[in-house]
Amino acid sequence: MIQMFHVTKSYPGDPPVLRDIHLDIQKGEFVFLTGPSGAGKSTLLKLLFLAERATSGQVLISGKNIARLRESGVPYLRRNIGVVFQDFKLLKNRTVCDNVGFTLDVVGTPRDVVRQKVAQILKRVGLEHKIDVLPPKLSGGEQQRVVIARALVNDPAILLADEPTGNLDPALTLEIMDLLCDVNTRGTTVLVATHDASLIARYHKRTLRLERGTLVAEHDVGLKAAARMAAG
């Protein structure tokens, strides 16, 4: 579903942010992407929905190299990928309904259907009563859940979540993680970037670790961490 070969990303004038990345995520997998701040987690996710282009190497989604995808093809790629942005990207002067509905608007969904689907997804993240509220009147955790709702309202094949629990208390974190797992069991491939070790320890999922732009460990980091926690 998601593959990278020899992927390097550098911003002009700076040393590479990502170096020779190889990865292969199967359809229906749930994968954590972890690593210290500045390691390049967000950048790696951006390469997948073409917010940034790889400097070199191949980025494959469903077997298609998107690193060379022409601009006119980008919208179609993005309609199949839900993204939970680290910085939320919510419009302050639009209601929760409008913000979540953007994902449906761009494919020409009728207004009443948009509202109906938004109401459904808000219910799943526990915010159905906030549908007509402006984002600044929501708590950080509520805003986070609105962003998750926007990423999921379209039933995407892939969900990329950049620190989706960064602003949540432990109880809500579990709720949201359960939601992401639920989405995953319904068939969506999920990639979660997080530096929350306890999260990785609790959910026994495949974990990729980035350090200074390089993938340093693969596979069973999460399992090892869990074992360590169980032992210690």
């Binding site: 929905f49 601009e71 993204v83 942005f85 953007f102 994902t103 761009v106 020409g108 009728p110 207004r111």
Partner: protein, 298 residues
Amino acid sequence: MSAPAKAAYFGRTALLSMARAPFIHVVAVATIAIALTAYGLARMATAQVDKWAAAIAGEVEMTVYLADGTAPEEAEKLVKALTQQTQGQAKLVSPAEALGRLSESMGTFGQALEGLSKNPLPWSIELNVPPPSREPATLKTLAEQARALPMVTGVDYGEAALERLTALSKGLKWGSVLVFGLVFIITVVIVSAALQLAIHSRREEIEIQKLVGASDRFVRAPFLIEGLIQGALGAGLALAGLMALLAWLGPQANEWLRFLDVGGGPAWRPEWALEMLGLGAGLGFIGSLLAVRRFLRV
């Protein structure tokens, strides 16, 4: 995926954008309205001049003055020739008849003419030119042909006035093309500046729309519709203003025009309203297209 849903979305977004930044949109609409009001006024002025020219041409009577001592048969022959050539009506007028008319037209001053011992007026032929020959150019040729005849001392018709009016009408038309070319370019620049501001104020929304899969066309459409709406609003405003002006001016204008015996007052034609609406929408659309092309880096 449905087109009506998209159209509704674009319309809603455009109106919302106008409501959120009313000032810049008022400026754009006002600019279009002013330009189109000027255009409508020029349209009416040109039509009025054309009308005067037509009215004057319609009254054209050519007077051909004959030399003293022209034989009556010669004169009759010329009358026939002129009648045939122009398909109009020609009439031989005696000096006495001409003097009588002159004194009559001068009113009380005319009585002074009765003291003359000798009639100073020559024999003349009055020619009423029918419509096909009323063109300034045709009349000129006809006058030159008549002047060339030995028995003719002079030819008189509304030459100067007619030519001046024709020139005025032409000048007005070309002047309008030039002036309005310029006015419309300025309008487009102002509209596109307003749209630039609208784009700028919505850049965050555009970024998010793009990130969740909006195509470039989807992002651009509302701005183009905004331009169209602005143009139509501007045209509507200009039309309302002109109609009000006409209603207010109507009776007075008729008074002023009575001395010209033209009548009808300032004419307005319904098709001009369509023309103005089309122009307004066109100006708004081109303005927004420019803004979108140059400033919407999506």
